[in-house]
């Protein structure tokens, strides 16, 4: 609930008469003003939720709490606990309830990894193509495994795993928005990965669409298409600092120690090899057509950041 998408989802659902009651569960307060959403303050890692969820008699559960980046003061172990143990507790709690018909988890496309030899667009069945390389990737894979097992044991419950690409948008605070607000952005010398994002508008609407029309199994959520990192950095008006690949980790490590930046392993891999997913299933089965393409999502985001350019804007210069 404390996140942008969680709060915005609650607001969307409470304004929709189709949903009788909306219950939110988090340790943090929501950022948005909510009208009729009941809030439960509880920790997802605690077994207490196994009593709370059956009491609420809900028919749809949306699990929105996969931590993508350890926030300030959050250890990697805590992040692992929230992600894996939290999901496990939540699924255990759902098992106790007999009113649940649908579970939607907002997971991550990070489970595919970032690979130089990957197909340009990952489809949903391609999770086993490459070994799991980072801790976050292993955590997401573990969550997906639990969820699949749950789904097999409860054929009456529709289990949807949404695999989200990194989000971009003015209300979001993600690794990529932080990266783009660095005055000088470090890049891998000689690499120009193809990246794919999901705009905050589409991130929310896709989640609403999945709650309304849940489908079984995994669904990629992204704005279609890709954008090259070089082009994106130029559009953002940032100066890029290409670093020889072997020194990249060392250099960003120094930046981290100085408190200038904080890249996760997944993010550095993304900056080198990129990742894109195929969104056919989202469009055809969930029935949600993203409003933006990835390039449009980036441009829309950058429009809100225009005052923060570092390099001069060449646009006026070129128009004769």
């Amino acid at each position: 609930m404390g996140s942008f998408v969680g709060g915005a989802l609650a607001r969307r659902l409470e304004r929709d008469p189709e949903f009788e009651a909306v219950v939110g569960l988090d340790t943090r307060r929501p950022k948005l003003e909510l009208e009729r959403t009941e809030l439960i303050e509880a920790d997802i890692r605690n077994a207490v939720i196994a009593r709370l969820i059956p009491q609420a008699e809900v028919d749809t559960v949306v699990h929105n709490q996969i931590v993508r980046r350890a926030g300030p003061g959050m250890s990697p172990t805590a992040m692992h606990d929230i992600n894996v143990i939290g999901t496990l507790q939540l699924l255990a709690a759902c098992e106790k309830s007999d009113t649940i018909r649908t579970i939607v988890i907002r997971g991550s496309a990070g489970v595919y990894g970032s690979e130089p030899h990957a197909p340009q667009f990952f489809t949903e069945e391609m999770t086993r193509l490459f070994p799991l390389r980072t801790r976050f990737q292993r955590d997401v894979a573990e969550i997906e495994n639990y969820f699949e097992t749950y789904s097999r044991r409860h054929p009456g419950v529709v289990c949807t795993m949404l695999r989200y690409q990194p989000g971009i948008g003015p209300s979001l605070d993600t690794q990529i928005t932080r990266y783009l607000s660095l005055p000088v952005v470090p890049t891998y010398l000689g690499f120009d990965p193809r990246l794919q994002f999901v705009h905050e508008h589409d991130a929310l609407e896709a989640l609403v669409a999945a709650v309304r029309n849940p489908v079984r199994g995994a669904v990629n959520v992204a704005c279609p298409g890709t954008i090259g990192l070089t082009r994106m950095v130029r559009l953002a008006g940032r100066a890029s600092l290409p670093i020889v690949p072997s020194f990249f980790d060392g250099a960003t490590g120094i930046g981290k120690r100085l408190g200038l930046l904080d890249f996760s392993d997944d993010f550095t891999r993304l900056l080198r090899h990129g990742r894109a997913t195929d969104t056919t299933r989202l469009v055809e089965e969930v029935g949600y057509q993203p409003r933006y393409t990835t390039a449009e999502a980036v441009e829309d985001y950058l429009r809100t950041q225009d005052g923060r350019r570092v390099l001069p804007n060449l646009r006026e210069a070129v128009t004769p």
Partner: protein, 326 residues
């Protein structure tokens, strides 16, 4: 008695004067712009406005690209980049390798199709020449996308250049997705075996793997156009191999040619052999239906047919070409 300066001498003097004017004019306009209170980029642009056409366009293109305003498709293919390196390809095609292309009408002008070609040398010069041959000779030219050895995508710069000119990771998923978007896709069924064959084995086609490219064609109903390239197998005559070095740098193999690695970076200069490219009659696969992709016998049969067509065409063109280098 004084002799008048020779004509080319006079020309040179005139050109130098013009160059001077250009530079001075540029600086003068730049200064005027700055004095008028313009910001630096706008002032530079104003200075550039007076440059001769070609220079001005290059300047505009560069500033536009530096601002991120250029098109790349979802796969990273950058048409503007390809057009910019055209003169270089043209030089290779016309002067260096003196390519002669036949049967280009066998490449469909629209819709999906799979080009299957023989392959030699670790750098995909043959792919670029096939692409350029279609640009040059075809009445309705189009850019083929080619499946590139995965190893290239580990390398800095090479990976970027590959994507920009239309290369994609050699994965069957990529081939299928591109064909479903009705693109023209080029594959090299010999794969790494073709790239690493010794000079003595030139123009002897290697095994075509498991016929994966035929499965792809069947599944997407794309016609297969066999392509025979003569000449590419002489550009890097592989005399030996250093497998230990290859393993050390993570390359699939480390070739030793007359120039490489003795001349360092210059060693990658391809030898100027004479080339012929022939596009053969397309093999239609749409009648079999997508289910036929599971029929092993049919897949092997078609794969063998493509292989024999290419092999036969290679021999024909070798005879037509005559000596390799003159």
């Amino acid at each position: 008695m004084t002799t008048p300066p020779r004509v080319d001498e006079r020309e040179r003097v005139r050109y130098e004067a013009a160059d001077d004017d250009r530079a001075i004019g540029f600086l003068r306009r730049l200064r005027e712009g700055l004095d008028a209170g313009l910001e630096l980029p706008a002032a530079v642009s104003r200075g550039a406005a007076g440059l001769p056409g070609g220079l001005r366009d290059a300047f505009r293109r560069t500033t536009r690209r530096l601002d991120g305003r250029y098109e790349e498709d979802d796969w990273g293919f950058d048409e503007e980049f390809v057009e910019a390196v055209f003169p270089f390809f043209e030089f290779l095609y016309e002067r260096w390798w003196r390519v002669k292309t036949t049967g280009v009408h066998n490449v469909p002008s629209h819709g999906r199709a799979l080009l299957a070609s023989n392959h030699a040398g670790i750098l995909p010069w043959d792919a670029t020449m096939i692409s350029f041959a279609i640009q040059r000779e075809h009445p309705l030219p189009r850019y083929p996308r080619f499946l590139v050895l995965n190893w290239a995508f580990d390398l800095p710069f090479v990976s970027v250049a590959m994507r920009k000119v239309g290369g994609v990771v050699a994965s069957p998923y990529n081939a299928i997705q591109l064909l479903e978007r009705d693109e023209l896709v080029a594959v090299f069924p010999e794969g790494i075996k073709g790239a690493g064959k010794a000079f003595s084995e030139r123009y002897r086609l290697q095994r075509f793997g498991r016929g994966g490219f035929v499965e792809i064609a069947l599944r997407t109903g794309s016609p297969i156009v066999p392509v025979a390239v003569v000449g590419s197998e002489e550009i890097y005559p592989k005399l030996g191999e250093a497998p230990t070095v290859g393993r050390l740098i993570g390359a699939p193999y480390f070739p030793l040619t007359p120039l490489f690695p003795w001349l360092g970076p210059l060693g990658v200069t391809p030898l100027p052999s004479k080339w012929r490219i022939e596009f053969c009659e397309p093999i239609d696969t749409s009648d079999y239906g997508p289910e036929a992709a599971h029929d092993r016998t049919l897949v092997f049969e078609l794969s063998e047919r493509v292989r024999e067509t290419i092999q036969q065409t290679l021999y024909d063109n070798l005879v037509k070409r005559g000596p390799a280098f003159v």
